[in-house]
């Protein structure tokens, strides 16, 4: 039971964190909350995953968890990528503005 307890505590912390982030990024915190709650249910009632997996045409519950994990990871990477791109465009615009406003002209006296 020790590991189950650790997982439940960790997932509860995650839920609290997501609740705190709700205002900053609503949809993502909702996904984290749902995933954490589902995770806690699976930790406490492991046989549930097998029942759901069989309904979906997947043999073992562990496989279902693995597939869902993969999907969530892919979505997270895609989300991070888009954010990075937005940041890099902002950095470019900022650097360009600085370069243009601090441009120097050649000394024309010579």
């Amino acid at each position: 039971m020790i590991f189950q307890a650790i997982l439940v505590v960790a997932l509860s912390v995650l839920v609290l964190y997501a609740l705190g982030q709700r205002r900053r990024s609503g949809p993502i915190s909702l996904v984290i909350i749902l995933a954490s709650v589902a995770g806690m249910l699976l930790v406490l009632f492991p046989e549930m995953s097998t029942i759901v997996a069989n309904r979906l045409g997947i043999g073992r519950g562990a496989d279902l968890v693995f597939y869902v994990f993969m999907l969530i990871m892919f979505a997270a990477v895609a989300n991070l990528h888009v954010r990075m791109r937005i940041h890099s465009e902002a950095t470019t615009a900022l650097a360009r503005q600085i370069a243009l406003s601090s441009a120097r002209q050649p000394d024309t006296r010579s």
Binding site: R85, A95, A99, P106
Partner: protein, 230 residues
Amino acid sequence: MLVPAELERTWVVIPAFNEAQVIAATVTSVLKRFANVVVVDDCSVDGTGEIALAGGTHLCRHPVNLGQGAALATGIAYALGRGAEAIVTYDADGQHAVDDAVHMVDMLRSRQVDVVLGSRFLGQTVGLPIARRLLLGAAVFYTRLSTGLRVTDAHNGLRVLSRAAAQRIAIRQNRMAHASEILEQIAEMKLPFVEVPCTITYTDYSRSKGQSWRGAVTILADLFIRRLHR
């Protein structure tokens, strides 16, 4: 300095990153024919920008290193802000011949086009290694396939843009994929263009700075990623 009237509103944009060894020679040769030159120093650490400024060019300096595409876009924005009617893009490493650039500006006017592209494969190429030739051939093939433009060279830093073309072309590829990106936009907007033979002189220096196969993979990846969220 003898500058004909039609070159008075022409600006040469030279993106440069750590080119201290060669930038002085490059700007000296360009300033012999062009009055308005801006070097965009992409956050060099070897004093490239100061050398260019001392040599008589205008200087924009990125506070962080962004890449050649971003440097070109900055230089073009600067030139447009100064009322440029034609903009020449020119590599810092001294591989281009300034007379080619003058000729290309003439072509922009005489042929009434918006873009003049330099092509090393129509002109003379000095000291081009065979591996680089194959790589450039692959780039040309890719460009023809993806844009439908009948070009003979794809990654040549020497171009002339009219003011209208420079205003419409938006370079968003910060790194090296901007060369393909510019061609894609020329194709999309159906901008009239001509290709002009130009001489490229490959020195040991420019060979060491040029694109490799690894660079080509990065370029393709950049182009692909851009497609994903346009």
